[in-house]
């Protein structure tokens, strides 16, 4: 098999309700894939199963050819996974630079630390705010900071859960360019997103989740022109 990430029949139920119900998904190396679907479709749950926050009720997760289902989150991360949460998960009281250093120190030797920190600060446009406490950043900047921490791990696969939530159109566009640049450098990226303009900007292939299942997979045009997709979004039965 050649997929970088593969979920097989991945299920998670909470108190009898399925959040995901037999999701089988294959992400090829080098892809940018968008996951879309109405609220409660199981998108964030799927990410949490992939990263190991939740243990699945059934099914497996394969990464780079290995079954990572039994592994704890930090071990999955060390194999090359990285995630940006839906709610910004940064170190609010620590400085912006310190936030990045904590992430960078996993991969970067002390001697190159300063250079790499500068590079990342510049890449994220956060250099002027470097000494601010991360909690004082704007919401969009917090999102970038967290993306910066996630990519500082130099992951093979990056999971982004609603990276543009709370961003202005300009910020959203910039985020899209950032994603494309990372992808051009060889990073595989899976994005949960609602903003269709953003999806069109970054992704070739889109997966629609609905009621915890894969509803449809295809190009964005195939998806938006599909009557069934329109129906689930507009709630018509």
């Amino acid at each position: 098999m050649s997929a970088l990430l593969e979920t097989r029949d991945l299920s998670k139920f909470f108190g009898g309700l399925y959040a995901t119900n037999g999701v089988s998904l294959a992400i090829e190396a080098g892809e940018v894939r968008c996951l879309i679907g109405p609220n409660g479709a199981g998108k964030s749950t799927l990410f949490k199963l992939i990263i190991g926050t939740y243990q699945p009720s059934g099914g497996q997760v394969f990464f780079d050819g290995h079954d990572i289902t039994p592994l704890e989150s930090h071990r999955r991360v060390n194999q090359g996974l990285s995630i940006k949460f839906q709610v910004p998960g940064i170190f609010l009281e620590l400085g912006v630079e310190q936030n990045l250093r904590i992430a960078l120190q996993r991969k970067v030797a002390p001697a190159r630390m300063n250079d790499e920190t500068e590079r990342l600060l510049a890449f994220l446009d956060l250099a002027p705010s470097r000494h601010l406490a991360a909690g004082n950043l704007s919401h969009g900047q917090q999102q970038w900071l967290e993306i910066g921490m996630a990519i500082a791990l130099q992951p093979k696969l990056l999971l982004l859960d609603e990276p543009t939530a709370g961003m202005s159109p300009e910020e959203t566009f910039k985020t899209g360019e950032l994603v494309k640049r990372l992808n051009a450098d060889g990073m595989t990226i899976v994005v949960i997103e609602h903003d269709m303009t953003f999806v069109r900007q970054i992704a070739r292939k889109v997966t629609v989740l609905h009621f915890g299942k894969v509803f449809l997979e295809g190009t964005l045009d195939q998806v938006v022109n599909n009557d069934d997709v329109a129906r689930i979004y507009l709630g018509k039965e």
């Binding site: 139920f13 909470f14 108190g15």
Partner: protein, 288 residues
């Protein structure tokens, strides 16, 4: 044989009552507000002191006990208003603050009333069965403990306050949006927890020496019951107390008091490893 069985049952009921009574006030405050009230033992002490002093001044014992509970409850609400409310967004700090209050109360009482006061006699006397002597009062305590649990169940499940309180735990901002005065709910909850602690002190006042540090005699048992019971008092307290009382009674009967205590602690450590959210967390597993 009969004596052993009766002796064991008596011991079990006594321990059960002690665990329930010592933990219920702590458990309500923790379950509702997430605050571990480290001044819990001092509310117990407060209830005991008020009971002893007013009873010796001539008030009938049951009234003195009610007064003890009320005093603790009112002090509890004052503390909630002046301290806890200001620390809602800093949970750890609110716990540390209650420890400060505990320190002030214990040592302050030492200064004000001295190391000990004359206690009360245990009421109702005792009776003999199968060659053993039993205290009527101590048989009454488990019954009262169960009544209190029943009362709490009624309060939280059947009254308007209970509905508001449960709404507040589930989702404070939603409850506020629906017109629940959550500040008032928290104040009443803290007051209720303190009053129940005071009642515990009042109930045990006739059976032990009243000293400023008496709260620490209850605090480990109350922690242990809350940890084993988990966050949901209504579900967790009774089974946790039953399990722990059984373990402690068996060990005490077989190996003495000390091993009973140590056994209790080991049980907690094992429970914590196996059921980190306690019995109520286990009963509610999968629902979240």
């Amino acid at each position: 044989m009969l004596a052993t069985v009766i002796g064991f049952l008596y011991q079990f009921a006594d321990t059960f009552a002690f665990l329930i009574l010592s933990s219920v006030g702590l458990a309500i405050i923790f379950g509702m507000m997430g605050v571990i009230n480290l001044a819990h033992g001092e509310f117990i002490m407060c209830g005991a002191y008020v009971t002893v002093l007013t009873a010796r001044a001539g008030l009938p014992l049951p009234l003195a006990m009610v007064l003890g509970a009320l005093t603790a409850g009112i002090i509890g609400m004052l503390i909630e208003y002046f301290v806890i409310r200001r620390l809602y967004t800093r949970l750890f700090d609110s716990i540390v603050a209650t420890w400060a209050i505990s320190l002030i109360a214990t040592q302050g009482m030492l200064i004000v009333v001295g190391p000990s006061i004359e206690g009360l006699k245990t009421p109702f006397g005792s009776f003999d069965l199968a060659g053993l002597s039993f205290s009527w009062y101590r048989i009454l305590l488990p019954v009262i403990a169960l009544l209190i649990l029943g009362g709490i169940y009624w309060l939280f499940m059947k009254t308007p306050f209970g509905v508001r309180a449960r709404a507040t735990i589930q989702n404070p901002s939603m409850a506020r949006a629906l017109g629940v005065d959550t500040d008032r709910v928290y104040a009443l909850t803290f007051g209720l927890g303190a009053a129940l602690a005071g009642l515990t002190g009042a109930l045990y006042a006739p059976t032990m020496t009243t000293v400023p540090t008496m709260g620490s005699a209850f605090i480990v048992q109350s922690f242990v019951t809350v940890v084993v019971g988990g966050a949901d008092v209504l579900l967790g307290a009774a089974p946790a107390a039953a399990v722990l009382a059984f373990i402690q009674s068996v060990l005490t009967a077989s190996y003495g008091q000390l091993i009973g205590q140590v056994g209790l602690l080991l049980t907690v450590i094992v429970v914590v490893r196996v059921l980190p959210k306690g019995i109520s967390g286990w009963m509610l597993r999968g629902s979240n």
